[in-house]
Symmetry: D2
Subunit: 332 residues, 4 copies
Amino acid sequence: MSWLDETIMARKGVARGKAGETYSITEESQGKYHYVYGAFVDPVLTVDPGAVVSAETHDAFEGAIKHETDSPTKLLNFPYLNPQNGPIYVNGAEKGDCLAIYIKSIVPRGPQPRGTTVIMPEFGGLVPTADTALLTAPLPERVRKLDVDAETGVRWNDKITLPYEPFIGTIGTAPEIEAISSLVPDYYGGNMDLPDICPETVIYLPVNTKGAYLYLGDCHAAQGDGELCGVAVEHPTVTTIQIDLIKNWTIKTPRLENDRFYMTIGSSRPMEDAARGAYRELIRWMVSDFGFEEIDAYMLLTQCGRVRLGNMVDPKYTVGASVLKSIVGVAN
Amino acid sequence: MSWLDETIMARKGVARGKAGETYSITEESQGKYHYVYGAFVDPVLTVDPGAVVSAETHDAFEGAIKHETDSPTKLLNFPYLNPQNGPIYVNGAEKGDCLAIYIKSIVPRGPQPRGTTVIMPEFGGLVPTADTALLTAPLPERVRKLDVDAETGVRWNDKITLPYEPFIGTIGTAPEIEAISSLVPDYYGGNMDLPDICPETVIYLPVNTKGAYLYLGDCHAAQGDGELCGVAVEHPTVTTIQIDLIKNWTIKTPRLENDRFYMTIGSSRPMEDAARGAYRELIRWMVSDFGFEEIDAYMLLTQCGRVRLGNMVDPKYTVGASVLKSIVGVAN
Amino acid sequence: MSWLDETIMARKGVARGKAGETYSITEESQGKYHYVYGAFVDPVLTVDPGAVVSAETHDAFEGAIKHETDSPTKLLNFPYLNPQNGPIYVNGAEKGDCLAIYIKSIVPRGPQPRGTTVIMPEFGGLVPTADTALLTAPLPERVRKLDVDAETGVRWNDKITLPYEPFIGTIGTAPEIEAISSLVPDYYGGNMDLPDICPETVIYLPVNTKGAYLYLGDCHAAQGDGELCGVAVEHPTVTTIQIDLIKNWTIKTPRLENDRFYMTIGSSRPMEDAARGAYRELIRWMVSDFGFEEIDAYMLLTQCGRVRLGNMVDPKYTVGASVLKSIVGVAN
Amino acid sequence: MSWLDETIMARKGVARGKAGETYSITEESQGKYHYVYGAFVDPVLTVDPGAVVSAETHDAFEGAIKHETDSPTKLLNFPYLNPQNGPIYVNGAEKGDCLAIYIKSIVPRGPQPRGTTVIMPEFGGLVPTADTALLTAPLPERVRKLDVDAETGVRWNDKITLPYEPFIGTIGTAPEIEAISSLVPDYYGGNMDLPDICPETVIYLPVNTKGAYLYLGDCHAAQGDGELCGVAVEHPTVTTIQIDLIKNWTIKTPRLENDRFYMTIGSSRPMEDAARGAYRELIRWMVSDFGFEEIDAYMLLTQCGRVRLGNMVDPKYTVGASVLKSIVGVAN
């Protein structure tokens, strides 16, 4: 039996974690990509639980940065950044439910060098920004274009090649009444930039509005913890997900599971608040679905909880807190 | 000559700071109040610069909390909180311009006790919240209903009556592509909860989209620095503002002036980032419009800058940084 | 009756707030100034409660910066900064007691220009620091030497003269077992840089160890909220304080009172934690000494509490939270 | 060749990473344990570089908590917590040098149940504290006593046994002029609570004062990222380290290496500042010793840097930032 058969998705999903109809969202069928997470636009696709959707994602700059001599500040047009595929309307999804998204694969596409990372003014973890507003002069702009290949990896320079470890930087549902920039991570998902949101993972997202309105985009070919300069190895992909729906499982913030652990995801500022949010939800999950008493879960995680820093550069910082399945067993 | 004649509004506004046509937005003409700042809805009013608008504002709970025995968690329906009047479409306003709003008066309305403050779970500066997520049990809910009178003040108890010092808790323009909860303060204004946004003040707001889409609401009869428990003395009012438009004055975040000082307003987390943002903008303003060199402005504000804490309870904290007109003179 | 006669110092102090013997600590009698707050050194003076002590304080740079062409990084020798007078041993003081320090006067001394403010690398509120460690290049060093006169004020330039509003930047008792840099503010006082610690104020400091070991220094001729660039108008002074002792009044962090308000002082990071600490102590004080119920104090301060930002540049940020005597009455 | 032979310790240490004389610090020879990091006390031991020292460490409560029915608040006497062995005076060590400490082994000692973890009021990551000062009531105290065995692990309950993964919670050198509580982590090391400081690791510590004055203690049998409730599985041990000295290698904050990676350690608040500090030092290290250009190191770490959260509960939070040796090669 695969770990997938034991997932909450498989056991509680409307489609029981089974693949249903397949769809693809091409650049052409997507048409206009989106820069906000909200329910003010028409869905690009309407599906039943079980649907397998392959989406042609753009990189975070919508392909605008083509050469190492390009100037990001000249080519980019804030807030029209981080283009998203979707929204996908999921039949039967209502506020209080939960989407379960099984990430099947991420495949790079487009001509080489497909990968892009840049230094831009007022953006990044070690420079002044609109939030951490200081007087010192920005670093010079810089663009790196990188060959990205699923087999051979991400070529940094003659000496260094990083493994291709792709994940979805931005994925989430529409807020109930808001439409929020795809640069922001929050309770509905969004721009979490958390490397654990990778193939062979199931991510659970709160449904806030009828149909859920699922968006995704911003796939990274590699990223360190924190996404330090603010821009991972951005690249266009074909990303394939399987969408399931869990009725009446009301979660406040995104969660995920893979073959090894359960994780909760917090996005906030300062960073300790992101960590607090993630850990509190993990404790609550251990209480509701694993039979722990709250204080015991708190004390146990003190000894074995794991923290993954997603981003330390976006409008909210993102932290994942996890616990091994080998310790807590399988969720009820 | 009044201080008003020397304001930036008076000197640079399309209407030269002169009152134009008068309008009123009643509960009836407003109809549906709004819970997000965005341009996805139809304006309730379209005006030319100079317009004087009187709006019947609701309290932050839309009047739902009527008795001290009421339960906020039962009566309130998140995220349908902090109802806003508007949007007001300002003719001629375009991205890159600035609205100048002169606050003429705030008059309490409705039957006594008009004032409401409450303790709610997961909200407030000295309790665990969704952001500062802790495990300790919430404080018990509590509701205080208070007599609010423009002449006699806010009656707290037999011994304590606070002066009536009203201000607009939430005011701002629509973001360019987003629609953000009226509970949030940010670069476009919103739920700043800053007591300096009071009568006899001109507040300057960035225009992010054609027509500006001005919203306002959430007037407070009294509030301490930080709005500690999260809920000031909320009350319904008739609030009268005069709207002017400054073409091509591009400001990043809200600013204000009164007869004594110029202020910039930063909203961020952690609180030091809100203070940094406010102070950096104040320095930039002193450089662009008052003839200071940047480092000199930085050093001078070190000796005479003033900080006002707006809120320490909303999704972003709000800080105003100001400098006296008697020190820096009048803006060019 | 003067406000002083109603202070907690006057009502509960061993000396009843009455002046006792007078002492002076000259540069010569001080000899070596100190750079840590601790009880590892011999007192420079031993006094009974009631003692009036005049101390010749150095500026924060011990006078090393004499000309505008001086280079702070060459002349300053970290951590030998912020020299302190003391320690003063207070007879009868024991852990769990409280010192009450009435600040009688601060008089500038030394040849003009007596005032100094500087820009130094890695220090200040709007630049990268050792704590907010970024990659952008520091601002250029700069020194301003300023004429400081008690009557005519602080001359900034031809156009701007600031009022002389002196206060004690650094004052406190020894920790119980630690010896902490005089650059740090914390529960025992220290480098709070809070302008309310000025003449005609009584500051209350926890006694952590037998004799209290009172230190003081770092007087500022003028300072804005936050001490933005990190260096106020530093100047040498003769500072005169009257020292009283309140037995068995155990306070966790510094408090103060003047003729208008009661204040509690919090020092922490991030800034919201400093504000939380100050406000929580103020609530506890209102409960223990003013007859308030905790929740009522919390709700009332929401409507009328005031926040003063001391510093946003030191190893901990300092915030004062206050409430008017006209609202809460006089402490029991 | 072992990875140890390639360490900076082995290549630059005075003792070339070779073991010299052996010493032991027993409870008896230690006598009084210490609660501050400082140079105000006499060394318990004076050694040459190369010395191998085995120290009988106490648990963080000095063994005071023996039963699950004990009350921490009654038994513990703040600030006399986290007892430390040492100081060890290292001959030849001077300000500007660096200690290299190779952690050879940690062996649990004392009668079972040796392990202790507790919930105490005002301490922990998900409760109000002296810093994050809130009004909500503390969690109830709780004590867990746990069997700890190097072979069989840490027995949590009938179902859960955690692996024995010991590390040194607190280790560091004396500050130059301060004496700081052993509860605090900072630039000299101290209470970092970072699980990577474990056997088969070399940690590098700045020397701030002649002789270095090395302290250590507070060994943990298991700990999750962040040490969530504030108390790991504390236990008494025999900890064996080998001490080397690198002359004129001036580092600002602790670093470490093991067979897989190089790490820098930042301690600050808020947590993003700890992460910034760690990452900036890692970039500087890559520039000085691995031949990277600063911006290239910044961009590369964006793609492959790793973050480990040590503690989110101490007076400063601790974060380690690391990069794989397989990516950056071996330090010059």
